[in-house]
Amino acid sequence: MSERAGRNGGGAVLELHDLSVRIPVSGGRWVEAVGGVTLTVGSAEIVGLVGESGCGKSTLGGAIMGLLPGGSRVAGEVLLRGQDLRGLAEEDYRRIRGDDIALVSQDPSASLDPTFPVGAQVAEAIRNHRDVSRRAARERAVELLRVVGIPDPGARYADPPHRFSGGMKQRVVIAAALANDPAVLIADEPTTALDVTIQAQILHLLRDLTVRSGTGVLLITHDLGVVAQVCDRVAVMYAGQVVEQGTVREVFAHPSHPYTRALLESQPAAHHRSGDLPVIPGRVPDLSEPPAGCRFAARCPRAHDRCAAPPPEIRTAGGGRVSCWLHHDTAREAR
């Protein structure tokens, strides 16, 4: 797997091969929340994983962290620097979490233990994986708080989370996540709960720190704008599958998949003048019985008889990949 589109050299730190997740729902049925995702994240690279609610992007994050709800079944490979994490014993997985792979999740107010001092929550991340004294952990935690931009970190170390603003709390969460210089950071909607000017600060900080430490980031978001701001590459998810991936520049300038195109066009910010926004008719398919062929076909303006069969994955001109029959034709003609 040598095909990486990231700009920052270094090998792939995280590789997903044909990863599927099935989650049990009531009545003995299963929902295929993630269906055969293949994706890589290189060191110091930020890959955006974008899609609407229910597309499986957060489940994918949970599968990588090994933190899915009980009873979920994962198939395929999750490789961290080449080591398959699937089937790892719980204790071995625990040693990796927070050390080699870290998580920043959506709501900073909900991520922190409300009864613990914020500094102790950063120090805990260190002591979970490093055999250091309390004092050393504390000093390092204060340093980390300073790095993420908490003013007067020594004094604020002992404050409980509720004395911080949302943006400051997310800085603390980032400090704890990056405490052990992880190879991979899963950032699951890290700025969705924040105001837009604060969002810009946090995204800037996140990119700055991870590029510096060489951490690869999988940035899960519903916001294409956020992807454009900080990501190097992007994967677009629809109904549990990645329908298109490539560099941000390529995908945003020349979206290949009809879903990607529709999603970009329905953004009011992109569509400057009044007049109706293009909309996507219909609904997301029921993933307890996913369609056999292309999952977007029922809503696709360019659907065709062939779309009843699973679409092939085609290399695009810009080096990305798209799963759509339309490009099968173009690719064949080009040949």
Binding site: L203, L224, A228, F252, A269
Partner: protein, 332 residues
């Protein structure tokens, strides 16, 4: 006379949460003016603590201001009671953010849509039923939806029901508080199109409250930007987006993530946290985060001054810089 709504000097404070001998107050709105014309969509944009939702509640008569006046079509609605209040209510209707929470879970869609018809005793029972079907059709739902419960609908459908319920009494003004922020992008587009169509086809004015400048730009003809309980800039959409003058507006525009290939985040557009509305900064409330700050900013509240006839800004410093430069400092 084309004025529909005239808000003047509205002040709202709340007791700060918690109890104590000296309870402090949250300064939600600190002297806000706003005018709306008939049949126009006015976007009200701001971040948390800006007071935009409180202003919406004042216009709906759900929040009584401590000071100031809200005049709707020539009638002062602050302090209005009884029949007169009901008549104004008939003409100003809300659409809320959370489409699930804004519908009574025990009621059918039909009953929710009919609620204002029942309240104002419009027509016979049969007339109301017919009107409900018309309204559902108007917002793009089928008549069978009338018998369903909110839990059986998708988020977008629920918001359509919310809009149908707001239209039932034939209002002149709809106050929509973050009507699309709980929705996915593709569903959001449908609701935004519906809102635009209502204005176009029915001539309903809309006060559109949102934190999302992109959405506001799409639906509004006039836009007001709020920061910590005050309006810092207001104007026609064209002028405000083409030539934002207030440093906060400009930072906000810079910070918006735009899904375009070259929209990289190169610098932090605005440092610092939003101060607490319990203890807001003196003078210009934006001054602690402002790059144009001069001494006077921390002392005096800057008034809204015209940039052009259709564009006002509460920043003398930016205004002066602009007039000295002769042209607008367009940067983005």
């Amino acid at each position: 006379m084309t004025g529909l709504l005239d808000v003047r000097g509205v002040v709202v404070t709340f007791p700060a949460p918690g109890a104590g001998p000296r309870r402090r107050r949250v300064h939600a709105l600190s002297g806000v003016d706003l005018s709306m014309r008939r049949g126009q969509t006015h976007g009200l944009v701001g971040e948390s603590g800006s007071g935009k939702s409180t202003l919406a509640r004042c216009v709906l008569g759900l929040q009584r201001p401590d000071e100031g006046s809200v005049v709707f079509d020539g009638t002062e609605i602050v302090g209005l009671r009884g029949k007169a209040l009901r008549e104004v209510r008939r003409r100003i209707q809300p659409v809320f953010q959370d489409p699930l929470g804004s519908l009574d879970p025990r009621w059918t869609v039909g009953r929710s849509v009919r609620e204002s018809l029942d309240a104002f005793g419009v027509g016979s029972a049969l007339d109301r039923e017919r009107r409900v079907k018309e309204l559902l059709d108007l917002v793009g739902l089928s008549p069978d939806h009338a018998d369903r419960h909110p839990s059986q609908l998708s988020g977008g459908q629920r918001q359509r029901v919310g809009i149908a319920a707001a239209l039932a009494s034939g209002p002149d003004l709809i106050v929509a508080d973050e009507p699309v922020s709980a929705l996915d992008v593709s569903v959001q587009a449908q609701i935004l199109n519906l809102v635009s169509r209502l204005r176009r086809d029915l001539g309903v004015a809309v006060l559109f409250v949102s934190h999302d400048l992109g959405v506001v730009e799409h639906v509004s003809q006039e836009v007001s930007v709020m920061y910590l309980g005050r309006i810092v800039e207001t104007g026609s959409r064209e002028e405000l987006f083409a030539e934002p003058v207030h440093p906060y507006t400009r930072a906000l525009l810079d910070a918006i993530p735009v899904p375009e290939p070259d929209a990289r985040l190169v610098h932090v557009p605005l440092p610092g946290d939003i101060p607490s509305p319990i203890d807001p900064p003196r003078g210009c409330r934006f001054h602690p985060r402002c790059s144009l700050r001069v001494d006077a900013c921390s002392r005096e509240r800057p008034p809204l001054r015209p940039v052009t006839a259709a564009h006002h800004v509460a920043c003398p410093v930016a205004l002066q810089a602009r007039s000295q430069a002769g042209t607008a400092p367009v940067e983005h």
